[in-house]
C-alpha cells in the first residue's frame, strides 16, 4: 500500500501550497488541498472557505472531499492522493478516510501550526496528528509529511504574523 513520495508528489503538494497562498490572498484562511488520481491527474482543488461561508467545517481538505466524492468513482478515489498544504485535522482526516482516499501527503505539520497559533484562543485545534486519528481507521492509510515544510511554513508565517489579523 505504502508508496514513497516522488517528484510528482512534490509538484502536486506545491500546487496545494500555491492554493493555500491564493486562499490567504483572497481573504480566506491560508489552507489549500489538491486531490490527484494515481496518474497525477488533478481531480479537485479547494481552499478553506470558512471566512466567506461562516461554516467552520469548510476546511480545504473537507471541501476537496465534498467536491470530488459525488463526481469521482470510488475506484479512482481509492487510488488517489490528497495533497494538503498543512496537516489534516481530526475532522478532515476522518472525511478523507470516509471518501475512500487512502493516501495523504501534507506540507506544514500540526505541531508547528499549533505553536504558531498558540496565542490565538479562537484558532485552537483539537491537538491530534492525522496519523494518530487514522491509526484508529478500519483500513490502513499511507501518510507522508511534513514535506516541503519550509515552503508551506512561509505561507503560514506570512498570514499569521500579519499584525492586522
Amino acid at each position: 500500500m505504502s508508496r514513497t513520495t516522488d517528484d510528482r508528489d512534490l509538484a502536486l503538494l506545491r500546487q496545494a501550497i500555491a492554493v493555500s497562498a491564493a486562499a490567504a490572498a483572497s481573504g480566506e484562511l491560508p489552507f489549500g488541498a489538491v486531490i490527484a488520481a494515481r496518474d497525477g491527474t488533478i481531480l479537485a482543488r479547494a481552499t478553506s472557505t470558512e471566512i466567506s461561508t461562516g461554516d467552520w467545517t469548510c476546511h480545504a481538505e473537507t471541501n476537496a472531499v465534498r467536491d470530488a466524492s459525488p463526481r469521482i468513482d470510488r475506484r479512482t478515489l481509492a487510488q488517489a492522493t490528497i495533497y494538503a498544504s498543512a496537516e489534516p485535522c481530526a475532522m478532515c482526516a476522518s472525511a478523507i478516510f470516509y471518501s475512500g482516499i487512502r493516501r495523504i501527503v501534507y506540507g506544514f505539520g500540526e505541531t508547528k501550526l499549533r505553536q504558531m497559533l498558540a496565542t490565538r484562543a479562537e484558532t485552537t485545534g483539537l491537538g491530534f496528528s492525522c496519523r494518530e486519528v487514522l491509526a484508529h481507521a478500519a483500513a490502513p492509510m499511507d501518510i507522508h509529511g511534513p514535506c516541503l515544510e519550509a515552503e508551506a511554513a512561509a505561507v503560514q508565517a506570512r498570514y499569521w504574523n500579519a499584525t492586522s489579523r
Binding site: W56, A95, L126, H136, A138
Partner: protein, 160 residues
C-alpha cells in the same frame, strides 16, 4: 440530562426514522438551545455522494448558516447516535457547548457491516474532544433502548 434534553433527543429519533424511510442511514441530529430548535437534519450520506453528510454534520452546517456563532456557543448538539470523530470535531469547530447522544457507538459497530468504510474510525467522540482548553460537554448514552430501535433490522438489510 436537562429538562428539554429528552424532547430534543426524541426529535433526533424521529429524524432518524424519516431518514431511514427516505432511503438514508438511520441517523438524526438537532441543534437546539433554551429558545428551541435552531436546525435539524437526517443523514444524507450515500455511497456515491458526499461522505461527510452525516446527520450531525448536516445539522451543524445548517445551524451555522442560520444563527450567529454566539448563539451556538450556548447550544447543544443532539444526536440519535454517538457522533463519530469527524462530527465531534465539527461540533467543536461550530462552537456548541454540549453534545447529548442516544445510542453508543460501541454497540452500533457490531451491528454494521464490516467493510472498511462501514466500520469507520474507532476514536470516540469524547477522545476527540478531550484535549482543547475549550471543553464540549458530552452526555450519553441516553434513552438507549429507544435509540436502539432505530437500527432494528437496518444493517442486516442495508446494501449500501
Amino acid at each position: 440530562m436537562q429538562p428539554d434534553d429528552e424532547n430534543f433527543l426524541r426529535q433526533t429519533f424521529a429524524l432518524a426514522r424519516a431518514a431511514r424511510a427516505a432511503g438514508h442511514r438511520p441517523f438524526g441530529a438537532v441543534v437546539a438551545d433554551a429558545a428551541g430548535i435552531v436546525a435539524e437534519a437526517g443523514s444524507t450520506q450515500t455511497a456515491n455522494g458526499d461522505p461527510t453528510a452525516h446527520a450531525e454534520m448536516n445539522a451543524l452546517r445548517r445551524a451555522m448558516a442560520v444563527v450567529p456563532r454566539a448563539r451556538l456557543e450556548g447550544a447543544t448538539l443532539y444526536a440519535s447516535n454517538e457522533p463519530c470523530a469527524m462530527c465531534a470535531a465539527a461540533a467543536f469547530y461550530a462552537g456548541v457547548a454540549r453534545i447529548v447522544f442516544g445510542f453508543p457507538e460501541e454497540k452500533l459497530r457490531p451491528l454494521r457491516n464490516r467493510t472498511a468504510a462501514g466500520a469507520g474510525i474507532g476514536l470516540s467522540c469524547r477522545a476527540v474532544l478531550a484535549r482543547p482548553a475549550r471543553k464540549v460537554e458530552v452526555v450519553g448514552p441516553c434513552l438507549e433502548d429507544e435509540a436502539a430501535l432505530l437500527h432494528d433490522g437496518y444493517w442486516s438489510e442495508a446494501t449500501a
